[in-house]
Amino acid sequence: MEMKEVSPVVKEKVNIIGKINKIPFKAIHFLLPAMIVYTVFSLYPLIDVIKLSFLNWNGLSEVKEYVGIENYSKVLTQDPVFWVAFENTIIWTILSITIPPFLGFVIALSLNQNIFGKTVLRAIFYLPVIIAPIAVATMWRWMYDPFFGLFNSIFNSFGLEFLIQDWLGDKDVALYSIFIGYIWQTMGFSMVLFLAGLQGVSQTLVEAARIDGANRFQIFKYVTLPAIQPTIAIVVVLSLINSLKAFDIVYGMTGGGPAQSTQMLALWAYTQAMQIYDFGKGSAISVILLVITLMIVIPYLIWNTKKEGKSHA
């Protein structure tokens, strides 16, 4: 290109860049904005919640009384709802790390075949993932409507009246009703991760196995499954972390009811602090949930960093 006379605007620009270049930018300048925000709004609350759990405080008043471990002993020994929430959280977590990932895996395997319209199918399966959990809750609450909702109308019109339930009003059924909505929402998430993992399975290996006379099942067992092991681990861990966050969907569908039968630890911590204004007890529940989370997450992080270290070396 021919060099023309430099316009003043360009000169100005060059000047600014020249000036900027003279400032000795260091790592700290780049890190500062993110670190300040992250420290104040993520790390500090993490420590603050521990402090709060030793106080008797309503969240607003000047009076804060140090009560030692009283909140913990109250939660663990005098609060029957805590144990319901504890049990539900465990049931929910176990279901969450098995059913949606398994379904997602099966769907991903099917979509990974040479079939018609897989892009559209994939898009539909993934669509619920991007919908606000609170909207999913509202949708499903309407679908579970005992009189005019989708489920009971379908059962009614197919003569399956014996299946009609008060889906969200029955203590024994409500938790599982919510979970079905949760499967609908989260299956696509596992599916997409598995599809990405399946892309990484060596086609040469699959082809070689086929030429050696392996059937579909054998190829799956001896080639695909071993190759996708790391993805399975990631999906399970992510599902686990997400399941501990289950808050919106329960809040929106039942609010923990009927009779606290769908209460969860995260929701119960919120209810104690923000609705009953017992910040001490709410924080104690948070800390208990946090400890459980960290007991699972930290070993995973260590395992993962070690693995990364190896692959860099």
């Binding site: 700290i28 898009a123 005019f148 609908w184």
Partner: protein, 286 residues
Amino acid sequence: MLSSFFKTQGSDDYDPFLITLWVLLILVVAIWVCPFIFILFTSLKTNGEVITTSAFSFPEVLHWVNYVKAWARGGFDTTFFNSAIISIIKVPLGLFISSLAAYAIANIKFKGSNFVYIMIVFGTMIPFQVMLAPLFNVVNDLGLLNTYVGVILPYLSFGIPYQVFILYGFFKGVPKEISEAAYIDGASHLTIFIKLFLPISLPVLSALFILDFVATWNEFAMALVLLQDSSMWTLPLGLMSFQGQFSSDYGQLNSAIVMTVLPAVLVYMIFQRYFVSGLTSGSVKE
């Protein structure tokens, strides 16, 4: 067109297994689509029609007035505006500060860079739903309850870990020679970052942009705690309150659901391919 499908590699025959599989998939996808159709149909029916007709009957007259009424009764003017303001400020700003931090960790040698990285990645594992009370506490102490700033700052904070994690991985993959050459030529880190790293990471940035937009648009728990004044509510809060007040106005309730969900669905449909790459670029590497 169809002739190339349903065949195993290297074979000219249609594979019955694949065809059966496809039929099964179509059945499952039908189940997945059902809720959408049911909600859409209900949103266009009058209450009388909802009660008397079957769930999957097409609305007799498209009752669009449900949308108009739900918009007004649900205060959608306000909630839509608030959600838009918060997302428009939060998403680009968050990406910018995350990429700055990721650049520093990936490309500038400094003491403790490993520690900083681990601290930040640790954040991806913290369920913030656990910390609503202390979060309320911090924001209240700063006098920022019921303000845009008071919700944007925590949103920024909870977006940083995942974004830094993804961008760090991407920046690490940029050949060292390029940035070192520029550095020797006298370019500052800021110039290298803006002129070199931002342009080449555009695909990753757009993926993260969309993921973050959807997450911000949909966020409920923090907003519930930090925005208690109804004039500051976001869409999810508005929908929740609508459900509480008008749950027996079936048509309008479902119109409200559709209106809340639609922006995210549109963004998803338009930018679909970025979504998938953004989700998977970090978590499934090899």
